[in-house]
Amino acid sequence: MPKDTSIKSVLIIGSGPIIIGQACEFDYSGTQAARSLREEGIKVILINSNPATIMTDPMMADKVYLLPLTVESIEEILEENQIDAVLPTMGGQTALNLAKEAEDLGVWEKYGVRLIGVDIKAIDKAEDREKFRQWMIELGVPVATAKTANSYLEGKEFAQQIGFPLVIRPSFTLGGTGGGFVHDKEELDEALNRGLQASPIHEVLVETAVLGWKEFELELLRDANDNVVIICTVENFDPMGVHTGDSITVAPAMTLSDTGFQLMRNTAIRMMRDLGNFAGGCNVQFALNPATEEIIAIEINPRVSRSSALASKATGYPIAKIAAKLAIGYNLDELENQITKSTSAYFEPALDYVIVKIPRWNFDKFKGADDTLGLQMKSVGEVMGIGRSFTEAVQKACQSLENNAVGLGYYGKSQMHAEELIEYIKVPKWDRIFRIKDALMLGVSINTISKVTNGIDRWFLYEIQKIVNIEKEIAKYKLANIPLDLIRQAKQHGFSDEQICRIMNDGHEDELYEKRKAAGIRRAYKMVDTCSAEFEAITPYFYSTFEEGGQNESKRSDRKKVIVLGSGPNRIGQGIEFDYCCVHGLIAIKEAGYEAIMVNCNPETVSTDFDIADKLYFEPVFWEHLWEIVELEQPEGVIVQLGGQTALKLAERLHAKGIRIIGTSFDNMDIAEDRGRFSDMLKELEIPYPEYGTAFDVDEAVEVANRVGYPVLVRPSYVLGGQRMRIVINDEEVEKAVVSLLKHIPGNKILIDHFLDRCQEAEVDAIFDGENFHVMGVMEHIEPAGIHSGDSNAVLPAFNLTPLVITTMEYYSEKIARALNIKGLINIQFAIKDGKVFVIEANPRASRTTPFIAKAYQIPYLNIATKIMLGVNKLTDFKFEKKLKGFAIKEPVFSFNKFPGVNKELGPEMKSTGEAIRFIKDLRDPYFRQLYKDRSMYLSK
């Protein structure tokens, strides 16, 4: 059927603030859906409370509502707009649940709004564990033995019938919240209680645990004409038992025979066709018994998901974009393949590469959290590596993680013994794959590893063994005598230059790079084209590999070009905000007439959508990869201001290589980052700052602490989101903090500041073009100093500071911007005590709050800032009309509930995973008054 022309306006529901289990993949899908519908001439109205999203930009929708995701907000929108249909499948579980709630209350019916994409019955069938089970049994699809319990007593009874090990799965929860394995009777009580409480309808499924089975996911599209295609088959490296969001996953499936795959495909298609009214993207998960090759259905998600975002990036097939078109009536065969632009959208992508996704965790932020991986998702972000072999892809993914891994292996860290390792890898934890490699290095057999890990497929272990064998070979050589063939082999298996040098314990990566470059061992770029080169594709989406012959598909154009460095995996302290900044940067670069080139490795993001930049390199934001791209593309310069600390960190080396840093110069950025140089500058500018000192060991630290006066803030230099920052009040605590810090970051220069107790905090975001200075916004924190700015509720504009204080802040900001010769963005944090303004720090880059201000004032600040960085515009070229009635509050959102037993304690180290925006008319607003009352409640240390 062609497009349903009765649909003229569509409401898209977003997924709200980033929390564990629901991250920026939904910005990606929402953005794609909005663009896809507008392409069809449909008016798009969007609701999302998350200001750091691209989807909520005026350029993405006809009307954007930055409102809390509640039925009240929905009603408000429906009152104000004529809306024909609502698309609830783009905003994750949050959107589905909201759509269902509105349906239950009769809201859709009242306003004559149709649900498109999926109907409530289908949602119920898929999301309600018991209904799903019954449905599967009716369909004749095998499932694990299970029973639904609505009470503690029932749960206990069923557990007895089913036997251990078993799984408790709460109904209607997100990312497996509240679920868990129960190995024996002792664990049952607590698990049952937690599950029943986590479920909004207080219902849990007590289910046999199919531990040791292999886990697979199929991403599908179905249209209203019952046509179904499988876009991607993903295999989990970790066997059943680890949430798929916490699993290392691989595509295409590596160990699945055609008979096994067709069984899954047929079953998934049967499930999809029987689901009811559904047109769009869907995800089906299966477990496969490796001994018998029988399969059971685990779950079905009738919406786009984290997995579909990954599948889109893994295959090049834009699932959300096509799903949106299917929702308005199109059939798959009426649409074209978005990558080739010459073939049909009704097809199944063929991959001639491997992708490996590795999740990124932040357990260090949740003291006391159980870091065992299980049914409940705990990771905060993910990376994807693409290569022409599993080994290459997995090592590239490791290089993308930004946790000091230079490949599959940390070097120079203390080694466990073989026995310890065998014990350690029994339990799935974030570093298990690294430990498996260590175990193989020590000669532990593949058999043993497969057994103790409860069934990690041997094929993956054989592949890791290849990495181990090459590593052992490399270790026999030094830079001077390492054979070129060995270098070539190592590169083909994903070893980084730095990794090879560390293994040899000789040479610098630059030396190795020059050596291999001279021998012609260089990266070739290959296209992600959905079709294994069968058809000519025009989409500029590339990854690197090493090939015999080195045929490079990424042709350099004659245009002037600028590279934007992305921010890598989402983590606490560096999240979706920076992707928002990068996307705007890319668009501004294009508008300014340059070719915009993106480098990033986070599959959840909009910036890695293949049609945002002129050219996308899906590569680790890691020196070696970046450098080879720079050598190939020879850009005018590189923008590091938009990708957070990840990108900024690479500025020094780019600068040293003579590559222009667009905007503020490297040296000036370094002044801002280097506490010593920065304080000297402040002194010169006669700007007050808290007393401070630096130290390299405990003795020095104690001395400094006493000099600047307690309480003091102890923190490492060059870190993100206040990592390992502590407020301490005596010598003993200083010692403890410093020892712990040096243990984790040896050789770090430790910063010790006098902590301004009970003072107020505020921050300024501004743009400077070399002549004029513009204050984007002044934000006052509701919480007192001591709570990381990312965890504070910030009010825009300031609500309680005196005009004199605000003027002083603005005055200091301008002075600093001038002194640092900022070109582009700067964020400055202030502490105000007894009316005196102190500068705490300055960040010469886009900050976490830039998108928030842009949204609150409705000014495209990132676009303006990028053009100023490029030098194509001056501030005077723009008009700034700040449209804000009342105040906007940036509310931090936490994911503490994912970590039972961890208290919500706030301090100088950032803990929040996301943020929401809330507009209030005035300070009498009850929500604001409550926040204000609670402002010191969670401050710990």
Binding site: P252, M254, D258, R265, E293, A350, W459, E534, E548
Partner: protein
Amino acid sequence: MVFHSAFFLQIFAKLFSSIMTQAPQQQAILVLEDGSVHYGKAFGTIGTTTGELCFNTGMTGYQEVFTDPSYYGQVIIMNTVHVGNYGVKDEDIESSTVKVRGIIARNLEEQFSRRMAQGSLDDYLKANNIVAIEGVDTRALTAKVRTEGAMNCIISSAVTDIEELKDLLREVPSMNGLELASKVSTQSPYELGDPQSDIRIAVIDYGVKKHILECMVERGAFVRVYPAKVSFEELKSFNADGYFISNGPGDPAPMDYAISTVQSIMKEEKTLFGICLGHQLLALANGIPTFKMHHGHRGLNHPVKNLVTGKCEITTQNHGFGVDPEAVKNADHIEITHVNLNDNSIEGIRIKGKPAFSVQYHPESTPGPHDSRYLFDEFIKMIREGKN
């Protein structure tokens, strides 16, 4: 035609006499008809092999592909980057031996993991005397075939002299005009299924895949498989209710014997179903010419639309020849039932007023999606209707 098989024998003789070293992965060389030389590592048997270069984009089912008789005479590029991961298994075959002449891949795996597997791909290829090369930029090769078209190639892990390889390559005949079906056909008739069945199907084997026969037997048919050059009189003696014209390798145009058999069957008004080569033969028998495609369709993801039902199916394909679309469109006696959504090529036809139909793709789909197996149901249904 005799010359060609003699040539292949000559190559095989070379292959047997080659030195069987145990050294870990010796070099292998791939030379294409366009003169380009590619280096990689040897896998499978050490030796030399030649054939027409083609590529397959499927990500599963390598064993089924390697044993598919339609690949006879061809050297196949496997686009998926890991091949051999799950070993080999007796049930996953389409014929009793490996039919491809050679394999080109990025990574061929010696180590495998599948509890139900019987052995490794490496051992299997060695047992079948198949020469393979890995570590090659298969993507670049595919792009070459895509742009320059199908061409012959030679792989060798035994001969290192490029000029010698080029000389050998020059002797390889072009696939255009090459009759190969009779080379892979059964030598004598055999039967499958329940002899008491009321559905009797005569299969003419031009290189039939095992799973095609299974698809018919599963649906209750009694099947008798005949050699390619069977006479129509012999076929008739089976008293079949339906005839199946199989898939197979090579060019259909020179297969006069087969075209006349199909014409004879049609005269009898018996139900007839053709797949792939069988589809091309049905077209030729009805005056529609075939042609050699630029580089063919080979993979598990080709989109086809059924014009009768309006539904789509993802199909398995393996063909280097096609039926002339213009001629089909202009033929009043032929109905187009299926088209390819990528390039609008003819995927299925029905002869108006006759119980005869055929598809260019492989509805048995081993390997590949089972979307099109309904065609076997239709075949059986048509046979039943024809009987009443």
